[in-house]
């Protein structure tokens, strides 16, 4: 076995001696670079390898698979040990699947298209924009509960569709987690801008990403231990600093 003898994860993984990690299809920048998690490049890929190492699993024994959100929450057997694709931990989801301790706390950010770059980062100003978001993310409830837009928001399947809608001038603004928003404005949507962020800690239920596991997973304790150790040692913060852009320049929305 690749596990250190007697390690807590030994015998608890899907395939004995391997650690199977699922990511999205595709996996997005900056969470995974070039859709190639095996390289360990990108925030989530790096975290996965760090956790594996912490659990005494060699990098060579980390196996990557792809999964959709739906496959992650299906009632039957899963084909992964953990699933990392920016899953926000929510109480409802937690009833169906297990989450590890959070590995990242994501502030929400407002991305606006070329036509609305001058919007002031205030609640009053952004309310009247035409809003969009990715329908499968926790941005949706945030949008409805915090921003309460004046007109019905449009919801999309993924970031690419939101980008296209902004380009076609069908929406003015969209709500994303900050790293995604920064990436989109810098690389994907010409003339767009991140005009503000919501403070991550201020809201009553902050958006925290956790690794998703099968309900009642025996592995959860080990993963949590590993994440706790990484947080303790500052390794997690270092990975974040390496792969996620410094976001202090984005103003807070008042």
């Amino acid at each position: 076995s690749a596990f250190a003898a007697g390690h807590c994860a030994a015998g608890k993984t899907l395939t004995d001696g391997k650690f199977t990690v699922a990511t999205g299809n595709p996996a997005y920048y900056p969470w995974v670079l070039d859709d190639a998690p095996e390289s360990g490049q990108g925030f989530e890929a790096a975290v996965a390898y760090a956790v594996a190492e912490e659990m005494g699993i060699a990098a060579a024994d980390v196996v990557w698979v792809r999964s959709s959100f739906d496959e992650a929450i299906q009632p039957g057997a899963k084909n992964f040990d953990v699933n990392m694709q920016q899953y926000s931990i929510t109480a409802e989801r937690d009833q169906v699947v297990d989450f590890s301790a959070p590995y990242y706390t994501a502030p929400m950010a407002v991305l606006v298209g070329p036509g609305a770059v001058d919007t002031a980062p205030t609640m009053a100003a952004i309310k009247d924009l035409k809003w969009g978001a990715v329908g499968t993310t926790t941005a949706v409830p945030k949008l409805y509960s915090v921003i309460q837009p004046g007109s019905d928001p449009l919801l999309y399947g993924d970031t690419a569709d939101v980008s296209a809608a902004i380009s076609a001038n069908q929406i003015d603004a969209a709500l994303f987690d900050l790293p995604t928003a920064l990436f989109l404005s810098a690389v994907m949507i010409e003339g767009s801008k991140v005009i503000g962020q919501f403070s991550a800690d201020s809201s009553e239920n902050p958006d925290q990403f956790g690794m998703l596991m099968e309900e009642g997973s025996v592995l959860k304790a080990c993963i949590d231990d590993a994440l706790a150790a990484l947080t303790e040692s500052g390794a997690l913060a270092a990975i974040e600093a390496q792969w996620l852009q410094d976001s202090t320049g984005v103003p807070l929305i008042k």
Partner: protein
């Protein structure tokens, strides 16, 4: 009561008993056997979760209005365009060859290209050419994409209906001095349409559900709404809720259409 009547009555009774008992049996078997499967509880809580249903249902109903709206303006236009394309494909005179060509090209392309591409291409692409609001609305262009795609399907069905009317009917109508258009309208189409009602009901039902494809370009209709709930609650029950709403519309509609057809059939022979 003649022996024929007696026999018929007995048959009716017997078949009712069989129908009732076999239906009951199947339902009983499902109710008893399925829950015995080891994973039933998990499946039940994923797909048939009362709390989730109660929570999501009102919002699903709201979102369904969007479907109804889009359906309501698309369906008649699809019927009309589909019919026109079918007529174009059926044009007889050699001078109308370009029309036939156009009809064939239209159906080939819009049927062959995946709806979702048509929705993206027209829903994002045309507004992307630089239309100002509100003319770039995804509702407008998304509906257009649906209309074009479905017209192609509907046209083929009309065409099969037109083909299934025996050519002697056309000859008889022409011999009365009717113009091609009158022949089509008064003689061929009424018979053709009657022949394809079930197939067109297929299309109506499929359309009602494919309205959901517009959600790819923004509109929050019942499916997107169910998908949002699914993501948030990590539970598939909202889809079951959506299905219930669909069934509540389609089953009465199809039953009624069937009833009308059967009645007409009885009356005419």
């Amino acid at each position: 009561m003649t022996r024929r009547e007696k026999y018929d009555a007995a048959q009716r009774r017997r078949s009712l008993v069989i129908a009732a008992s076999s239906t009951a049996l199947v339902i009983l078997a499902l109710i008893i056997l399925v829950p015995m499967a080891p994973g039933w509880e998990k499946v039940q809580s994923s797909f048939f979760n009362r709390a989730v249903l109660a929570k999501s249902f009102p919002k699903l109903l709201d979102a369904f209005l969007v479907n109804v709206m889009i359906f309501a303006w698309s369906a008649p236009l699809i019927g009309l365009l589909g019919l026109l394309i079918a007529l174009a494909r059926d044009a007889k005179s050699p001078a109308l060859f370009p029309l036939r060509l156009f009809g064939a090209a239209f159906t080939d392309i819009f049927r062959g290209v995946p709806v979702i591409l048509t929705v993206y291409l027209i829903g994002f692409g045309i507004p992307g050419l630089g239309l100002p609001r509100p003319w770039n609305s995804p509702y407008i262009w998304g509906s257009l994409a649906l209309i074009l795609t479905y017209s192609a399907y509907v046209a083929e069905i009309f065409r099969s209906g037109i083909d299934s009317v025996h050519h002697s009917q056309r000859a008889a109508a022409l011999s009365l001095g009717l113009s091609e258009r009158q022949v089509m309208r008064d003689v061929v189409l009424p018979q053709a349409v009657r022949n394809v009602v079930p197939s067109q009901m297929n299309m109506l039902i499929a359309l009602q559900k494919d309205v959901s494809l517009l959600s790819f370009i923004g509109p929050v209709e019942i499916f997107r709404q169910a998908g949002v709930f699914k993501s948030l609650l990590a539970n598939f029950t909202p889809y079951v809720g959506a299905a219930l709403i669909f069934l509540a519309v389609t089953i009465p509609a199809t039953r009624y259409a069937d009833y009308l057809m059967a009645k007409q059939k009885r009356e005419r022979r």
